[in-house]
Symmetry: C2
Subunit: 466 residues, 2 copies
């Protein structure tokens, strides 16, 4: 039987660890094609893990073609073929290259540390909601979400962001991706939508999947500008002013006002303000959101709990100006709210009792320490002479401009060879630009603990300044 | 202080009862404009309900303009103006007419009885998942949903629907509405989509919100036909073959095969099979789904747990043919799964332990009894002479053709005057047709208990055959 040791302090779920172990054993030939695997029950007892964990691992292996299920008989290893995904001649588009297998330090920009999530508090509140509100948990809630959660969000925005928002302007949905799709339905697919270039790749993908009229907006040192938009006939602009992804720009008030004037100057112009990183500012006083300085109902504000709580909780919200609230109820009010009532009520209670504020403050402290540690380790080592750090006044990532003669792809591949993954800035351009910087990489620090950050920085040093 | 009595056996949540009570008191003038309402804490203690219940009721009253919150002071009744919603001159479209307030028996077609939901089992499993799988609950799951749930759905479909589906063909999403939007993104907005006319209004609304090319397909006694589609240049057809809504047609095998031949006869043609009511067939042997007799990968199957479990749980799934799975991963794989991992794992365990099967069987029995009771009560009374019942071989609603000289609108309004709500068949036509029947109403029976059904049928009798 298998003899793997689970690493309980790792963030990798047990089933993933099991799946990877068996996959490696098959790829390396330790488990041979045709060999029968242990039954789920036997393996569960042997490894002292739940059957469902084994099932999940087996299911993933089946899905990827490493093993097959023979009904009434069990699971058998397939004869291993190198890179089976590439055999599929029917695939319409190219497969992404397989990632190198030995990355130990992934400076991912979209990973948060869930080990500090107050899980026992969350489960306690979950239990309370389960036992106190059984009726509410079964009946459908209003299309825009439960009043209980919308009230808490409005109170939070008032206390921590200085925003005056009524709960009836708030619309809850299963993720910012989903809400962005709703906004396109609300405003109309025929608008010309502008997205930041570079920017969050998913934003461009979502707009592309929902409308054919999406245009890349070049950035200057303050973000998108009215001048940059003017050439495209844009009437809806999507921006991340509180901390631009990936450039890290915090848009100054003057530029925010310039964009609002742009929106006011013609009917039907709107700004979608994605405030995804706003919970984690590190320096200076927070700048008012566009939503809060908008006087003409032209800003749609989006934010998410995915980054501030946990990726598995698909809860985001948008704030619509009153005229668009009315339009939403008229045109899209038939849609059911996509977030289960249970999650909404648990989160409402979590916020009401002050746990959300405390959690955000704790994580802000942790992320700031990580940022400082990474910056310090880089500055004080050999990298200090060739690396410029920028874009780290907020959020969960920073930019490294490396002056050692290497270009982006070489920076990324040399880092990978030393076990560290960073991301070339060029990856975030939906459209290439002529003056694209060639020696900048993006490094997230929120998903790595202190030891990993120190070792990861050392790996970068070996790669770039040996 | 208020003196309302909560009706604990009703399906109306406590906050709704409180909200309605206060609303009525304001409208009737018992609470006067400017009068201060009890504090949330005081009212919660007085009525022995949770503060969050009071908060939710107050929030709804604030949202609708019945009361205002004065920070640091409390809640005050607004000066009541008749029908404030209609005062809003900025509203873009017309408001629907306010429903009569005295409906006691709502034969709603989209309501399920949650009083028989095994809530204590569900909460027990929820607690197990919370305590056993903390890591999994925080990390993001695959875009198409957790393997654990997909495995259970595949097993269910095999055992109860005779469908051979691999878990990797299954995609979990927060409701059929959301999945339908994804399908349009997957197949392309430029296709010509056909929807049944009459049909489920939301289906037409979702397609309209996502594409400009949606066409109404007329029905004959077997449902949509290849001939009916031919005039529109349709290449994607959305149908409800297991129990057409609202006509109640169960599409015969011959027609299913005809539609498959239609799909096979040209590249890029697809059928979306919405199997929403399939868990509740009452007569005859179930007919194989189009998905299971499709040999060329042209059927996309959708089903939901909203109707079989509870409306508050937004869990649906679709089954894609292999080529579309690949296309999904390539084009839309960036989307996160919209259903929280916690709900997915709880449902997976609920299914794994056999609770889902037992619940479906129990509800099928209950709904069949309700259907039989309603049919019997109608047939044996004075209505028996003037009413024809049809469309009730499956699902949660039936059609009543009434031969008393009344037209649809009169049938509906006379029923409402007696306290019963039924729905004119004409409401389900997205496009009017010339031969629209004028004396047919739709009555759902799943949301009313036995006593309500008997009293509701008596109300219909008073209305239509006095």
């Amino acid at each position: 039987m298998f003899t793997l040791t689970f690493q309980s302090d790792e963030q990798i779920p047990l089933y993933q660890q099991l799946y990877r172990y068996i996959k490696d054993e098959i790829e390396s030939g330790h488990i041979q094609g045709g060999q029968r695997l242990p039954s789920k029950r036997a393996l569960s007892a042997h490894l002292k893990i739940s059957i469902i964990t084994v099932e999940t691992a087996y299911a993933q292996l089946v899905a990827e073609g490493y093993i097959v299920s023979k009904p009434g008989s069990g699971y058998y290893a397939e004869h291993f073929i190198d890179n089976p995904a590439c055999d599929d001649a029917g695939a319409e588009e190219e497969q992404p290259a397989c990632p190198p297998a030995d990355i130990q330090y992934d400076f991912h920009t979209n990973r948060i540390d869930t080990s500090d999530f107050p899980f026992s508090t969350w489960t306690k509140l979950s239990r309370e909601v389960l036992s106190e509100r059984s009726e509410d948990l079964l009946n459908a809630c209003p299309a825009q979400g439960t009043a209980a959660l919308r009230i808490q969000i409005a109170a939070y925005l008032k206390n921590f962001r200085g925003m005056e928002v009524s709960p009836e302007q708030i619309f809850i949905g299963a993720g910012s991706e989903y809400l962005t799709g709703l906004i396109i339905q609300l405003l109309g697919r025929d608008n010309a939508y502008g997205v930041e270039n570079p920017g969050y790749n998913k934003t461009y993908q979502i707009f592309s999947a929902n409308t054919s009229r999406v245009f890349p907006i070049p950035m200057d040192e303050k973000g998108a500008s009215a001048e940059a938009i003017s050439g495209f006939g844009i009437n809806v602009l999507h921006i991340t002013p509180s901390h631009h992804f990936p450039l890290g720009i915090i848009m100054p008030v003057s530029r925010r006002q310039e964009l609002l004037r742009w929106a006011y100057s013609r009917e039907g112009r709107y700004i979608i303000e994605d405030d995804y990183d706003s919970e984690f500012p590190y320096t200076g006083r927070p700048i008012p959101t566009l939503q809060s300085i908008d006087r003409n109902g032209r800003v749609i504000y989006i934010n998410t709990f995915t980054k501030s709580l946990a990726p598995s909780m698909r809860i985001s919200y948008m704030i619509l100006p009153p005229a668009l609230c009315q339009r939403f109820h008229n045109r899209l009010g038939f849609y059911s709210c996509t977030v289960p009532v249970f999650e909404q009520l648990t989160l409402a209670r979590f916020m009401e009792k002050g746990h959300f504020d405390r959690h955000i403050n704790r994580m802000k402290k942790i992320y700031r320490q990580r940022r400082d540690l990474l910056c310090q380790t880089i500055s004080e080592g050999r990298l200090g002479k060739i690396a410029e750090i920028s874009g780290c006044d907020a959020g969960m990532h920073l930019l490294l401009t490396i002056h050692n003669g290497m270009k982006q792809s070489q920076l990324v591949s040399c880092a990978a060879a030393e076990g560290a993954r960073v991301y070339g800035l060029g990856e975030y351009y939906s459209f290439p630009v002529s003056d694209m910087p060639e020696n900048i990489v993006v490094a997230g620090f929120s998903g790595l603990n202190e030891q990993q950050l120190i070792l990861g920085a050392a790996a970068l040093e070996r790669a770039w300044a040996p």
